[in-house]
């Protein structure tokens, strides 16, 4: 019998519908996998009861001859940034230790309403700030991947959705939620050989998702392939009156619309993404991806996104600025950690609580954000960055007058070793160089695995689309996926 944990979302869904296996069997198989992989530290909270309850509901519906829901029988992982009712939510920060929301985020609620069960809450970079998962207050996630050099260096699963990427690539869950502020879905997907899509800003409600940078944060699915991403995305998106930035649009049938035929599509190759010191393997993969797109029928042109080099600095002003304000609510007054030294006044309590509760990367970004918004610096930093953001969006608009989609590498390198970049925040920030521009412009963007580097580590290709053209992005992803034939998976050493 096949190992049920080798199945993806579509295969599980279809198998449960057809009665090939029960949802309960699927849930149990993944629960056992989660149990056996604790060393990866992918889960912060395990919720096997939730997964089993959803599976039993699916099995009961099947037994009763009812039409099964879109995700009936599919157990998933939930990034800990999502508030799920009565389950601890910490955003991987000590400051939220002990916090258990009384409410269900819109996205998790939609997934559960679609029949999905939850295996647990996934580890992440603290408050989604990081590209390696090393900023989690509860220990970093370890990537299931290892280099083929015989060494056992622990690798980063990417971030901030590193628990999600590690869990999916280690077959601990078939799919998971992620959130992407500057690449937090796409970069970990690339590092672990899986797929992930950040939809157009406003497609997924942010209600109930712990905020990092409100104008950039966007939820999206991570899964093993493009089809599974499409299925998940359909369940996650939709208008939410509780989020003022939510798009009031119907949800397209992305899975039904999947097509790997790119005839008639023009794919732009942005020349500014050819950055200094890019490893030759990344460049080679990019060229390979271009060829695959051409093979799928697309016309390839070079396009210019002239303000690309300003994207990263603008991002590292805007995101910390918003974060410095968004994280002000963690003050020890109403929930989470409260550090009240003997004889402390209110200010002392704020200082002690926030000093003890926030990790150093979070503090760094709060300080940067506070600085760039402060009197005398606001215009030089925040206003300038906002202007750059507008220019970057215009770059994309102009490029999309000539092409339908853009193809780039997802990250400038394969997964690095844990600890390798921790001491140098700038080096860490540079990981987001290819993913940040699409975030600033609110565009749909996806990473799909393209191949392995010489060390046997996955590399990803990124497809960026016009606003609301998730279908185009998914289809190009599918075309590459079919030609890449990526089947590599980490060998279980855990």
């Amino acid at each position: 019998m096949t190992d049920l944990t080798d199945l993806g979302v579509a295969a599980i869904r279809d198998g449960v519908r057809e009665g090939a296996f029960s949802a309960r069997e699927v849930a149990n198989a993944f629960i056992a996998k989660v149990q056996s992989a604790k060393v990866l530290n992918a889960f912060l909270v395990e919720t096997p009861d939730h997964a089993i309850a959803a599976a039993d509901a699916a099995d009961a519906a099947k037994a009763a001859g009812e039409t099964l829901k879109p995700l009936a029988g599919v157990p998933i992982g939930m990034k800990d940034l999502f508030c799920t009712k009565d389950v601890p939510a910490t955003a991987a920060s000590l400051i939220l230790e002990g916090f258990s929301p009384t409410y269900e985020s819109t996205v998790s609620g939609k997934l559960f309403a679609a029949g999905a069960g939850m295996l647990g809450k996934l580890n992440m970079d603290q408050f989604a700030m990081g590209s390696s998962n090393e900023t989690s207050a509860f220990g970093n996630v370890i990537s299931p991947w290892r280099r083929n050099d015989g060494g056992n260096a622990a690798l980063a699963p990417g971030g901030s959705s590193g628990g999600s990427s590690a869990a999916i690539s280690a077959r601990l869950c078939p799919a998971a939620t992620g959130t992407d502020t500057g690449g937090s879905i796409r970069q970990p997907a690339a590092f672990t050989g899986i797929s992930g899509i950040k939809p157009t800003y406003g497609r997924c409600s942010r209600w109930g998702v712990v905020a990092f940078s409100s104008s950039l944060d966007q939820a999206g699915p991570m899964a093993r392939d493009v089809r599974d991403c499409a299925i998940m995305l359909e369940a996650m998106t939709g208008f939410d009156p509780k989020d003022a930035t939510s798009l009031d649009l119907p949800v397209p049938q992305w899975e039904a619309g999947l097509s790997a035929d790119l005839k008639g599509k023009t794919i732009g190759i942005p020349k500014q993404y050819r950055v200094d010191n890019m490893p030759p393997e990344i460049e080679a993969l990019w060229q390979q991806g271009i060829q695959w797109a051409r093979d799928a029928g697309a016309e390839i042109i070079e396009v210019s996104l002239p303000h690309t080099k300003y994207a990263l600095p603008a991002y590292y002003i805007i995101a910390p600025a918003e974060a410095s304000s968004n994280l002000a609510r963690y003050d020890g007054v109403r929930y989470g950690l409260r550090d009240l030294p003997e004889g402390a006044n209110l200010q002392d309590m704020y200082a002690a609580t926030r000093a003890a509760g926030f990790g150093s990367e979070v503090k760094r970004r709060i300080m940067i954000g506070t600085y760039v918004l402060s009197a005398g610096f606001y215009d030089a930093y925040f206003t300038q960055a906002s202007k750059v953001r507008t220019l970057i969006a215009r770059d994309f608009e102009q490029a999309f007058e000539k092409c339908d989609l853009l193809l780039t590498p997802t990250a400038p390198s394969a997964a690095f070793a844990l600890g390798e970049k921790q001491a140098d925040p700038i080096a860490m920030y540079l990981n987001d160089v290819f993913t940040v521009p699409a975030s600033l412009a609110g565009l749909p963007a996806m990473s799909v695995p393209g191949g392995l580097d010489a060390q046997g580590l996955p590399l990803g290709l990124q497809i960026i689309g016009r606003p609301l053209d998730e279908q185009g992005v998914l289809n190009a992803g599918l075309a590459i996926e079919q030609r890449a034939g990526f089947v590599a998976r980490p060998e279980a050493w855990w």
Binding site: F82, E322, S325, A328, R334, L373
Partner: protein, 492 residues
């Protein structure tokens, strides 16, 4: 505009000083729900019973603008002839305090919803001859209120009540156009009146629905503006006037003693009648305002604006003009329109058929006098406009004399009965029966032959005596005009 009174001046050791005043008024928007959440806003609820997840700033919670609050701000702007900005935006004002769950207040710094407007004030609303003045309004923006801290509930702890957290406020910022305590008081009173007419704020200053930050500076007349201080949260018209007066005097004293005024925030202590420093500019927060990324810019379409405009009631100045055009004296028109409840009561009286001039005379003297006497206000008036119209109708058609009407009104106040019923039951109808009146007059003249002599000898003031005696004998029911005529004839 004629300036009937001398300019307000503070006389210091070095000469005369002028005071410059601007007001920032926070007015709670009348709405069932808060600015960005669905939580209720009723005054006086048990602590923390009107708090949504958004108001408590739970993780992942998001603000969604409440259209009714926006509508009220737009209507208010229209009522002061202000520019309505079809594109505005919310900004975050960041600071830490225990009554501010988000760690920021959502406000509008850079792009307020309402731009420049103006309010006409009269320095004595009751006196049409008093000087008037136009006070500029810089802007109106909407923002969230904070919660409330209670420090007196526990020896070592402070309690937080978030009921008010997130309630919508309009901040109405005047230009520094006021030059005396009286002008500041008149501006606040007029603003309050307009808000109550529009229905965008109940104006209950004692419940904190309206409060003013008073900006005061002094200068030698003709000089540049001086450094201002801001006295926060002043909650009555009287206190605002006191703050202006006290703060101006204090500033003059400081400057004349060789000191200088520092830009600072002050508090008013009504018990001691003085302001005191709260924090200086040096300790002022850097609020790090920036556009709230949780909210899209607020864009108002024409249909919405038209709906707002169509829903505006007749405003005090227009109403007052209409009353004056109907022959009501300017003084009475001012009295009747000063408060929306009185004005609406009076309009209903007119609609019920009462003649404007008689109705205004009666309302401002008889009714308001009775309400004053009994400690009631127009909202709790024991006599309805319909009942008053009935009473005035009986005067108009000659059934009741003025004095009889007074009697009937007193009985109406006591019993709540209608005027016609009282007249019928108690026989208070005025008589014009000349025969009966002539008989009474003949008796009175016979009994007072000496006074008749004196009258005829030139002491004409005695005529009033004969009228009084006749009316008394007729138990007040004689038609006074008929009595006059018949007396004149009899004494001729």
């Amino acid at each position: 505009m004629a300036d009937a009174t001398a300019p307000y001046r503070i006389t210091g050791e070095t000469g005369e000083w002028e005071v410059v005043v601007g007001l920032e008024v926070h007015a709670q928007v009348t709405s069932n729900a808060k600015l960005f959440s669905g939580a209720a806003t009723a005054f006086g609820a048990e602590p923390n019973t009107q708090v949504s997840l958004v108001d408590a700033a739970m993780p992942g919670m998001l603000p969604v603008p409440n259209r009714e609050c926006i509508r009220q701000a737009v209507r208010t702007g229209m009522a002061i002839d202000a520019q309505i900005n079809k594109w505005s935006r919310f900004d975050r004002k960041n600071y830490f305090y225990a009554d501010l769950p988000q760690g920021y207040q959502i406000s509008q710094l850079y792009h307020p919803i309402v731009g420049e407007g103006a309010i006409d004030i009269s320095l004595d609303e009751k006196n049409p001859d008093a000087s008037g003045k136009r006070i500029g309004v810089e802007r109106i923006h909407v923002e969230q209120d904070a919660g409330k801290l209670m420090h007196d509930q526990h020896p070592t702890r402070s309690y937080v009540d978030l009921n008010r957290s997130g309630v919508a406020l309009m901040e109405i910022v005047s230009k520094p156009d006021m030059r005396s305590p009286q002008e500041a008081g008149a501006y606040l009173a007029k603003l309050r009146s307009i808000l109550r007419y529009v229905g965008s704020c109940d104006g209950n200053m004692d419940q904190g629905s309206m409060r003013a930050d008073v900006n005061v500076s002094v200068r030698k007349p003709g000089d540049e503006f001086g450094t201002r201080t801001e006295t926060k949260n002043v909650n009555s018209v009287r206190f605002v006037m006191q703050v202006v007066e006290q703060e101006a005097k204090r500033q003059v004293a400081v400057i004349e003693a060789g000191g200088r005024i520092v830009q600072e925030t002050r508090l008013y202590d009504p018990d001691r009648g003085e302001t005191r420093s709260m924090r200086s500019k040096e300790d002022a927060h850097d609020y790090r305002y920036f556009p709230d990324p949780d909210l899209l810019p607020l864009e108002l379409d024409d249909a919405f604006l038209e709906e707002c405009r169509a829903s505006l009631p007749e405003l005090p100045d227009a109403k007052r003009a209409r009353y004056e055009a109907a022959g009501i004296t300017p003084y009475q028109a001012a009295v009747l329109t000063a408060d929306v409840d009185s004005a609406l009561w009076f309009d209903t009286l007119l609609e019920a058929g009462a003649k404007p001039v008689a109705a205004a005379n009666w309302t401002t003297s008889e009714l308001f006098g009775a309400l004053n006497r009994t400690g009631k206000d127009i909202a709790t008036s024991p006599v309805s406009p319909g009942q008053a119209a009935e009473l005035l109708g009986l005067v108009a058609d000659g059934t009741l004399s003025g004095s009889l009407a007074k009697q009937v009104f007193e009985i109406m106040l006591e019993t709540g009965d209608g005027a016609a019923k009282i007249v019928d039951e108690r026989g208070l109808k005025q008589t014009s029966d000349t025969g009966a009146i002539e008989g009474v007059i003949a008796g009175i003249l016979a009994a007072n032959a000496d006074k008749v002599e004196q009258y005829k000898g030139g002491k004409e003031a005695l005529f009033g005596f004969f009228v009084g005696q006749t009316m008394k004998a007729m138990q007040g029911k004689a038609n006074p005009q008929v009595v006059n005529e018949l007396l004149k004839k009899a004494l001729a």
